[in-house]
């Protein structure tokens, strides 16, 4: 999946990937996609929950070689 920005959270555990996502999303324009890469499996549940709470769109996840890539679309400022 294509993304406008990438956030590397490899080696970071909950809540840091989410905390950093909340911070980074501010730098995106509405409609842009953020790719978050993490190896803590907690992100699989954390990111959809974060999206539901904040109103941004959870586009999906890809998993390969121990790395989980989640995609979030910024829907508002």
């Amino acid at each position: 999946m294509k993304a406008d920005q990438r956030l590397d959270c490899i080696g970071l555990y909950c809540p840091m990937p989410i905390v950093k996502t909340a911070e980074r999303i501010k730098q995106l324009k509405q409609g842009q996609v953020l790719e978050v890469v993490a190896d803590d499996i907690g992100i699989k549940g954390d990111m959809p929950a974060w999206c539901e709470a904040t109103g941004h769109e959870f586009l999906g996840l890809e998993e390969a070689a121990g790395e989980i890539r989640v995609y979030v679309k910024k829907t508002h400022d």
């Binding site: 080696g11 970071l12 555990y13 989410i18 905390v19 909340a22 929950a49 709470a53 904040t54």
Partner: protein, 160 residues
């Protein structure tokens, strides 16, 4: 945008592990757009006491208490397996291993995310503490009714 959801945490325990749990929840809540308040009471006050200097208080019993229970984020112990500090030291090593922020770092992070830190006035009165006992990040000293006023408007209320 809709009004922010509120989250109220009572931080009653003063251990390293419970402090971490409290700050993890607080920072996660803040990252999800919630308005988070943390109310430090009783042993929880240890988490927000200043690290440097001495804790001034009046009376022999209070002086003894604040000496034995000095507190400060750097002096927090594990609730179990402290083992005279060895266990706590090892746990801090494990925390570093997985890039987990220290309590100090969590306090800074929480504040930057708008989390409010409050000290319980009654616990302070009992233990002889005042504003000078705490670190600068503490927002105010409040009572139980203030906390409950926040809690009754909160979607999430937890006791740690």
């Amino acid at each position: 945008m809709a009004e922010k959801e509120k989250m109220s945490l009572v931080i009653y325990s003063g251990n390293l592990d419970s402090a971490l749990a409290g700050f993890m929840l607080a920072t996660t809540g803040a990252s999800m757009g919630m308005e988070v308040s943390m109310f430090f009471t009783f042993w929880g006050l240890n988490i927000i006491k200043k690290n440097e200097g001495g804790i001034k208080s009046k009376g022999l019993v209070r002086k003894m208490l604040n000496f034995m229970n000095r507190g400060g984020s750097k002096r927090l112990k594990m609730s179990r397996f402290n083992m005279l500090g060895m266990g706590t030291g090892m746990m801090k090593g494990l925390m570093k291993d997985i890039n987990m922020p220290s309590i100090d770092e969590f306090i800074t992070l929480a504040k930057s995310m708008g989390v409010k830190l409050y000290a319980c006035t009654t616990s302070c009165g009992m233990m002889g503490l005042d504003e000078s006992s705490f670190r600068s990040e503490v927002d105010d000293m409040v009572g139980a009714a203030f906390f409950l006023g926040e809690a009754r408007k909160s979607k999430v209320s937890l006791f740690i």
